[in-house]
C-alpha cells in the first residue's frame, strides 16, 4: 500500500513540477502575481510529493517489503536498520529518486527563501527549476521507477552489496547529491538572467550563497567518498582518478571556479558572460556525472548498472537541459553588458588567473575522463586513461594555481600592489622554502616532487594566515586590539581563509602520504610479527565472530611502537553469506595525523595456519580528509555571513549599480 502511495506521489511530483514550470513562466509573461504565487505553491507541493515518494520507498526498505522489486534486489531482513535505510539510495532507482527530491527541494528553497528576488527574475528561476524537475521525474517515474511490484515476491531479498554496508558509504550519497543538485539552482539563475538579459552585481550576489551551499556539500560528499575508498577497499589509496571519482570532481572544479568568478561579477560587475557560462557548466557536469555513473558506459573500479536504454535517456535529458541552456547562452550572451576593463595586477586579475587555471584543470580532467569513451565510440578500441595522465596534466596546472593563490587576497580591487603583497608574503615564502629545503636534505632526501608539494602546502597555510594578520594589523597594533580586529573580521573573510588553509592542509597530507607511505605484507602465524615503519605488529590470534548478517575472522594484532607496547588492532575479514562475498574491514589506528592501517588477508593453508597481513604506515593521512572538511567548513562559515543573505542582494543592487557605473 505504502509503495503505491509512493508511486502515486512520484507521479504527482512530476505533474506539480510541470505545473511549477508552466505557472511560473505564465506568471512572468503576464506579470501576474496570482500565477507567480501558484507557481511557488506548486514548487512546495512538488517537494512535499517527492519527499513523500522518497520516504515511502524508505519505509518499504525499513519494513523489508520484498514485493517491491527494488527492495528485493537491494535489501535483506538481516541487514541492520542503518543499512536498510541507506539501501534506499543504494540502487540506481533509489538514487534517482533522491536526486529528484533534492531538485524539488532546492526549487522550494528558492520559492521560500528568495523573498528579496525581483518579481521578474524569481518566476523564471522557478520555471527553469520546474522544467529540470519535470525531466528527471519523468525519467524516474517512467524509466526507472523504484516502486515496481513483483508478481511473486521472494521470501528474502538479495541484500545490499556488502561493500556499501558501511556508515560512511551510507551517509555520503545524500551529501554528494545535495551538492550535485545544488548547482541546478545556479543553472536556473543563469537561465533566468539570460532570458532577462541582465547579469549584474546583484545577480551575482544572489547566486553566490547557492553556489557556496552546493559546493560545501559536494566537498563533504567527495571527501566522505574518498575516505570510504581509503579504508573500505583496503588498498590504502584514497583517490584513483577513476572515472566515477572524476564525475564528482568535475562539477566541483567548475563550482570552485564559479565561486571565484561570481565574486568578480559581484564586486566589479565584470565577467558577466563567463560567470553565467560557469553557472551553466557546473550543473552540466553534475548531469554528466549522473549520466557517466548511472548509464554504465564507463568501466570503473566501481560497479554500476549496465543498461543502455537508461544511458540513452539520461544522455537525452542532459542534451535537452544543457543544450537549451547553452543555446540560450549563445543567443543572449552577446547582449550582456561587458564589464569595464581592469588592470591585470589586482584582486580581480588574480581571480581571473585562478579561473584560468581551474578551467584548464577542468578541461584536462574532462579530456582524460571522456577521451576513452569518444575513442571507443569512434574506433572501437578500448583504452583507459589512468593516474599518470592526471598526474602529468592536472598536477602542474594546480601547482601553478596554488603558487599564485596567496597573492590574490592581498591585492586590492582595481589596482593592486604586487610588490607590497610580495613583501607581506615574505614570511610565508621564507618559512615554506626553509621547510622545503629541510625536507629535501633531511626528511626525504632527493625526493624533489614531495619537497615541492610540502613547500606549496606550507606556502598556502602561512600565506592565507598572512592575509588574516595583515587585515587585523597583528604586530602593528597591540595584541588586545589585534584580537578585537580579528574577531570583527567578516565571516566571509574567515570562511575564505579557512578554505584556503584547508586546501594547504590537504596538499600537505596528500604529498606526505603519497611519498612517505610504507607498505609491508607478510604471511604470519600466531606469535609472529611484522615491521612497518616504526611499529611492530604481532599477531596474537584470529577468532571467528558473528555479525548481524555476516561471519568474520577477526585478527588481533598487538602494536609496539617507539614508545613501547600500545593497544591492539583488530582487522576483520567478513563474509556475507547472502551475497557470497567477502570484504575486508580495515583496522586503523590514528597516531596523531598519521594512520597505522592493517588489513587481514586470506588464510594460507598447508602446514601451520598463517594469515596474510598487509600493513601500511600512512603519514599525515588524516590531513587528506581533514583539509577538505576545513574547506567545506569555510564555505559554510561564509554562507552564514550576513552580507551573503539572499535578501541582501536587493539592498546591494542600488549601491553597487552606482559603484560599478562610477
Amino acid at each position: 500500500m505504502i509503495a503505491e502511495l509512493g508511486a502515486f506521489a512520484l507521479l504527482l511530483a512530476f505533474v506539480l513540477s510541470l505545473a511549477q514550470f508552466g505557472l511560473s513562466a505564465a506568471g512572468r509573461i503576464r506579470r501576474d502575481a496570482g500565477l507567480r504565487g501558484a507557481g511557488e505553491g506548486a514548487s512546495v507541493g512538488a517537494f512535499i510529493a517527492s519527499a513523500t515518494a522518497f520516504f515511502a520507498l524508505m519505509y518499504a526498505f525499513v519494513t523489508s517489503d520484498f514485493s517491491v522489486s527494488n527492495v528485493a534486489a537491494n535489501s535483506h531482513s538481516d541487514q541492520p536498520l542503518l543499512y536498510r535505510v541507506a539501501a534506499t539510495w543504494g540502487s540506481h532507482e533509489g538514487s534517482m529518486l533522491l536526486w529528484c527530491m533534492a531538485l524539488s527541494g532546492f526549487g522550494m528553497a528558492v520559492a521560500v527563501f528568495g523573498k528579496g528576488l525581483p518579481t521578474t527574475l524569481k518566476p523564471l528561476v522557478l520555471a527553469s527549476q520546474g522544467a529540470l524537475g519535470g525531466l528527471f521525474m519523468a525519467y524516474t517515474a517512467f524509466a526507472s521507477n523504484p516502486f515496481v511490484r513483483l508478481a511473486t515476491p521472494p521470501v528474502e531479498g538479495a541484500a545490499l552489496n556488502p561493500i556499501l554496508q558501511d556508515p560512511f558509504m551510507a551517509i555520503h550519497p545524500p551529501f554528494l547529491y545535495t551538492g550535485y543538485v545544488g548547482f541546478s539552482v545556479v543553472f536556473s539563475f543563469a537561465v533566468a538572467a539570460l532570458i532577462e538579459g541582465r547579469v549584474d552585481a546583484a545577480w551575482a550576489r544572489w547566486v553566490r550563497p547557492w553556489t557556496l551551499a552546493a559546493w560545501s556539500f559536494l566537498t563533504v560528499g567527495i571527501t566522505l567518498g574518498s575516505f570510504w575508498a581509503y579504508y573500505e577497499l583496503g588498498w590504502g589509496g584514497w583517490w584513483f582518478w577513476d572515472p566515477v571519482e572524476n564525475a564528482s570532481f568535475m562539477p566541483w572544479l567548475a563550482g570552485t571556479a564559479l565561486l571565484h568568478s561570481a565574486i568578480v561579477t559581484e564586486k566589479r560587475g565584470a565577467l558577466p558572460g563567463w560567470t553565467v557560462f560557469l553557472a551553466l557548466t557546473a550543473f552540466t557536469f553534475s548531469m554528466l556525472g549522473a549520466f557517466l555513473v548511472r548509464s554504465g558506459v564507463l568501466t570503473s573500479v566501481h560497479a554500476f548498472a549496465v543498461d543502455p536504454t537508461r544511458g540513452v535517456l539520461l544522455l537525452t535529458i542532459l542534451g535537452i537541459a544543457a543544450g537549451s541552456g547553452f543555446a540560450l547562452f549563445a543567443w543572449r550572451a552577446p547582449s550582456l553588458k561587458a564589464g569595464g576593463l581592469f588592470a591585470p595586477i589586482s584582486r580581480e586579475g588574480a581571480l581571473v588567473v585562478n579561473n584560468l587555471f581551474l578551467a584548464g584543470a577542468l578541461a584536462t580532467v574532462a579530456l582524460g575522463t571522456l577521451y576513452p569513451l569518444i575513442r571507443q565510440a569512434m574506433t572501437g578500441e578500448a583504452i583507459s586513461v589512468g593516474a599518470p595522465f592526471f598526474a602529468l596534466t592536472f598536477g602542474p596546472l594546480m601547482a601553478l594555481c596554488l603558487l599564485v593563490l596567496p597573492f590574490g587576497p592581498l591585492l586590492s580591487w582595481k589596482r593592486g600592489d604586487l610588490l607590497g603583497a610580495a613583501q607581506r608574503l615574505f614570511v610565508a615564502a621564507g618559512a615554506s622554502l626553509l621547510v622545503g629545503l629541510a625536507w629535501l636534505l633531511v626528511v626525504q632526501p632527493g625526493k624533489g616532487f614531495s619537497a615541492i608539494g610540502v613547500v606549496l602546502g606550507i606556502w598556502l597555510v602561512v600565506g592565507s594566515l598572512t592575509e588574516l594578520f595583515v587585515r587585523a594589523r597583528v604586530g602593528v597594533v597591540g595584541s588586545g586590539e589585534a584580537w578585537r580586529r580579528l574577531t570583527n573580521l567578516p565571516r566571509g573573510t574567515w570562511g575564505m581563509t579557512l578554505a584556503h588553509i584547508g586546501l594547504g592542509v590537504f596538499v600537505l597530507g596528500a604529498v606526505v602520504e603519497t611519498s612517505g607511505r610504507i607498505e609491508a605484507a607478510q604471511a604470519l602465524t600466531v606469535g609472529q610479527s611484522l615491521q612497518v615503519g616504526a611499529y611492530t605488529l604481532t599477531l596474537k590470534g584470529v577468532e571467528a565472530v558473528q555479525g548481524p548478517n555476516y561471519t568474520a575472522d577477526r585478527g588481533t594484532l598487538l602494536v609496539t611502537g617507539p614508545h613501547g607496547p600500545g593497544g591492539a588492532m583488530t582487522p576483520e575479514r567478513r563474509f556475507y553469506p547472502v551475497n557470497r562475498q567477502a570484504t575486508s574491514q580495515v583496522a586503523i589506528d590514528a597516531k596523531g595525523p598519521s594512520d597505522l592501517y592493517v588489513v587481514l588477508g586470506e588464510q594460507r593453508t598447508g602446514g601451520q595456519p598463517s594469515w596474510l597481513i598487509r600493513a601500511y604506515w600512512n603519514p599525515w593521512a588524516r590531513l587528506i580528509f581533514g583539509g577538505p572538511l576545513l574547506m567545506a567548513l569555510g564555505g559554510l562559515i561564509s554562507l552564514s555571513d550576513r552580507r551573503l543573505r539572499i535578501a541582501a542582494g536587493a539592498r546591494a543592487r542600488a549601491r553597487l549599480a552606482g559603484e560599478v557605473a562610477a
Binding site: 534486489a73 537491494n74 543504494g90 540502487s91 540506481h92 538479495a158 552489496n161 561493500i163 556499501l164 558509504m169 550519497p173 567518498g225 583496503g234 566515477v244 555513473v293 548511472r294 554504465g296 558506459v297 564507463l298 568501466t299 573500479v301 566501481h302 560497479a303 554500476f304 548498472a305 549496465v306 543498461d307 591585470p344 581571473v352 588567473v353 584560468l356 587555471f357 584548464g360 578541461a363 584536462t364 579530456l367 582524460g368 577521451y371 576513452p372 578500441e381 578500448a382 583504452i383 583507459s384 586513461v385 589512468g386 599518470p388 595522465f389 602529468l392 596534466t393 602542474p396 596546472l397 601553478l400 605484507a521 604471511a523 551475497n579 562475498q581 567477502a582 570484504t583 596474510l612 598487509r614
Partner: protein, 142 residues
C-alpha cells in the same frame, strides 16, 4: 587577459597531448591481444574471465591464473594480494605487460564489486567471440 590566458591554455593543451601519448592504456581480451601482436613490455589491460581451475598460489605469494575470452587464453602471474572479489569464472581486468615468454605479468588486478557484474570490455569481448550469456545486473553501487 589574452596575455594571461594564452600561456595557461597552451600549457594545458601541451601537457594533455604529451601525457595522453604515454598514459593511454589499451584494453584487450586474450584473442585481441594475440591478433594485435602486442609487443612484450608494453603496458596494456587484459580482461576476460578467470579460467575455472586455473588459480594457483606459490609459496612466495605469487598467484598465477588463466584469463580467457573463450577464444584464446593467457597465463597471468601476479605478486600481491588479490581483490576480495577475485573468483574463478568471474570477470577480471589485469594491468601489466607480457614478458618475453608470452606470460602476462600483472602489476594490478581489478575485480568488480558485484559478483553479478561483468566489466564492460569483457562483456563486449565476449559478445564479439559469441560467448555472451545474458545482461549484467540491475543492482548498482555508489
Amino acid at each position: 587577459m589574452v596575455a594571461i590566458a594564452a600561456p595557461v591554455l597552451a600549457l594545458a593543451a601541451g601537457l594533455s597531448l604529451y601525457a595522453m601519448g604515454d598514459a593511454a592504456v589499451f584494453f584487450y581480451s586474450p584473442a585481441q591481444a594475440a591478433e594485435k601482436h602486442v609487443p612484450a613490455g608494453r603496458t596494456i589491460r587484459l580482461g576476460g574471465l578467470v579460467e575455472t581451475g586455473s588459480v594457483s598460489k606459490a609459496a612466495d605469494g605469487t598467484v598465477s591464473f588463466g584469463v580467457t575470452d573463450k577464444k584464446a587464453s593467457d597465463k597471468v602471474v601476479f605478486k600481491g594480494d588479490l581483490p576480495d572479489l577475485f573468483r574463478e569464472g568471474q570477470g577480471v581486468v589485469a594491468q601489466g605487460a607480457f614478458d618475453g615468454a608470452g606470460v602476462f605479468v600483472a602489476r594490478e588486478v581489478l575485480a568488480k564489486h558485484d559478483e553479478k557484474y561483468m566489466p564492460k570490455e569483457v562483456a563486449d569481448a565476449l559478445k564479439k567471440s559469441g560467448e555472451w550469456r545474458g545482461a549484467g545486473s540491475e543492482s548498482s553501487t555508489r
